[in-house]
């Protein structure tokens, strides 16, 4: 297929349809509304179902029903609406159901604001709802990657029978870039035997519920599932880390400024590198094994006040190096600012 110019949110929505998603439900909230607006007319064209729900609570539970009977289904939200979905996501994890939830991150806690920000890293990678769980989290940094990861998200969800979260943000969701989309295809709702469809007396019944307390092996099943995901699904992009003095760690919109910072710093003789996270969970710890002995420090670059990546970088590096943070929840990172902060960190380390 030829390249077209598309907004991140719309490319995401169109991609979902093209890989066989035929059910969407959601509630308006900026900056994700284009996803539901687009699907409100487009879903019918491919014979799917669209519901504008009364709330995000309703949306996540409706999605659970659609996924339980075998559909490829997703919903999207942002900030407060994504928070409202957490109980439902916890149920969906407990029920081993594959589906996709998109969070186009906005700014701040509470109502916050509609601008780009990256404050939901902790919420998205730690579980977010109640109980022992984590979800696979994919973080695109542009429109093409939004489409690629959206397409892959359903496969991953089905592979592990587990929800997958897409961690987008207002900038990635709103930007317009050229994109090549996958070809349109259908998904068979009877593809997986676990999908509910009704049964005759004598058939084996299918039940979607939290019956783990009845199943002796449930905890082993859980441990194995999470271990498999951690072993198989780490995704990242490393740039110029072979000889870097300091490695930036970033994702989503912030990582684009980091790439420019690496280029600019290197042309001035300052050896910066970058690990761009594509999966936020599983955290790409494998990427850090490739970091060179010449690296003296790490700098997280994210649109967050508190620096939510810092702890994970420390863990991934065995606390062997200083880890600092650059970024604001209210402003895009600046290339110059990244380089300046990196220099200051290195000075402190060697001074």
């Amino acid at each position: 297929m030829a390249k077209t110019l598309m907004k991140g949110n719309e490319a995401l929505a169109e991609t979902a349809l093209r890989v066989g998603c035929r059910f969407f439900c959601g509630y308006p909230i900026t900056p994700q509304s284009e996803i539901m607006e687009y699907l409100s007319w487009r879903m019918a064209e491919v014979g799917g179902e669209f519901v504008q729900t009364e709330s995000e609570l309703s949306a996540i539970n409706m999605l659970m029903g659609a996924a339980a009977v075998g559909a490829r289904a997703f919903t999207s939200s942002s900030g407060p609406g994504f928070s409202l979905m957490q109980e439902g996501i916890s149920y969906i994890v407990a029920a081993d159901l594959p589906l996709v939830v998109v969070n186009v991150m906005r700014e701040g806690s509470g109502l916050g604001n509609i601008g780009a920000s990256q404050g939901d890293y902790w919420q998205m990678t730690r579980g977010g709802g109640h109980g022992d769980y984590r979800t696979i989290v994919l973080a695109p940094a542009g429109v093409q990657e939004t489409s690629n990861l959206m397409a892959e998200s359903f496969d991953l969800a089905e592979k592990y029978r587990h929800p997958v979260l897409i961690c987008s943000d207002a900038a990635v969701g709103q930007m317009v870039e050229p994109v090549t989309l996958p070809e349109l295809r259908e998904h068979d709702i009877n593809k997986y035997d676990w999908a509910l469809r009704g049964c005759k007396p004598g058939d084996e019944i299918r039940t979607i519920q939290n019956v783990y307390f009845l199943d002796e092996d449930y905890e082993n099943h859980l441990r194995q599932k999470y271990a498999d995901i951690e072993a198989n699904e780490q995704r990242w992009e490393s740039i110029e880390i072979a000889d870097a003095e300091l490695v930036l760690v970033s994702y989503g919109i912030s990582s684009r400024f980091c790439k420019e910072a690496v280029r600019n710093a290197r042309s001035a003789g300052f050896k910066l590198g970058l690990i761009r996270l594509i999966t936020l969970w599983p955290f790409p710890v494998k990427a850090f094994a490739e970091v060179s002995p010449s690296t003296k420090a790490f700098l997280s670059v994210e649109m967050s006040t508190l620096g939510q990546l810092v702890d994970d970088i420390r863990l991934a590096t065995g606390c062997a190096h200083p880890v600092d943070h650059y970024g604001s929840m209210m402003a895009l990172p600046e290339t110059k600012g990244i380089i300046g902060k990196a220099q200051a960190v290195l000075k402190k380390v060697s001074g």
């Binding site: 609570l57 409706m62 029903g65 996924a67 009977v69 289904a73 049964c199 007396p201 979607i208 519920q209």
Partner: protein, 247 residues
């Protein structure tokens, strides 16, 4: 007359207390599915409350939904598998307290799902606390001196909330006697028939006893329904659209 229990009702021990009427409701569902020849089409979404214990009683494909949200879940099921019978099975607390927004909007959208609300006037599963339908003066663990309607509002009647909406069917039955059980079965059957005809939202509330939390014997619980509950929650059909206009 020889009684034969519905095939999909398994012969396993249940977890219900003595005198609980969940079993009666199960039998009605089972009989109706056989009469309509839809046993293999039924997909139920239950709430987490006492109704969820039905999962070990019946042999239907079942989702145990989140507390108060079986209705949107049942709609997700119906949208993806339009030829199935999609039943949301809730208690009064689920349908009228925590999930009232979902109940209202299912009715407003005239969702093509059947809601069965087992109204025992309490949050049975969590120990019998006050729900929206607790009777005036009724003692519960959260209304130890009896429900004070000045402070907590009056008993909630679903017909006052959705009775004027463009839905397919709304009725209330009881299980306190054979006569009422038979009437309730007719209501439920009509709801499923309308559902299969694509007419839209059908809600059947069934007054049920909770001997455990009411502190009454099974027999006295049935008497309590007749003498105390029915006067507050009148039985009958409130909406029975010929053909709903926006189904």
């Amino acid at each position: 007359m020889k009684y034969k229990s519905p095939e999909a009702i398994a012969k396993r021990p249940t977890l219900f207390c003595q005198g609980c009427a969940q079993g009666i409701i199960n039998r009605l569902i089972g009989e109706i599915m056989e009469e309509l020849d839809k046993v293999d089409k039924l997909i139920v979404t239950t709430d987490v409350a006492c109704g969820a214990m039905n999962v070990i009683v019946w042999d239907y494909d079942t989702i145990v939904g989140a507390h108060g949200r079986p209705l949107p879940t049942a709609l997700g099921v119906k949208k993806v598998r339009p030829d199935c019978v999609s039943l949301a099975h809730l208690g009064d607390g689920a349908a009228y307290n925590i999930g009232l927004a979902e109940t209202m909007h299912s009715a407003i959208r005239n969702d093509n799902v059947v809601a069965l609300v087992a109204n025992n006037c309490v949050f049975a599963m969590t120990g019998g606390q006050m729900s929206a339908t607790t009777l005036p003066g009724q003692r519960t663990p959260s209304t130890v001196n009896g429900r004070d309607c000045k402070a907590t509002g009056n008993p909630f009647r679903i017909e006052n909330a959705i009775g004027k909406l463009d839905i397919a069917y709304l009725a209330r039955g009881s299980v306190d006697s054979v006569k009422e059980i038979n009437k309730t079965k007719k209501m439920l059957k009509k709801a499923f028939e309308k559902h299969l005809a694509g007419e839209g939202f059908c809600l059947v509330e069934i007054l049920t006893p909770c001997p455990t939390n009411w502190g009454l014997s099974p027999l006295d619980s049935m008497k309590y329904i007749r003498e105390e509950v029915v006067p507050v929650y009148p039985l009958g059909e409130f909406v029975d659209r010929e053909e709903s206009t926006n189904a």
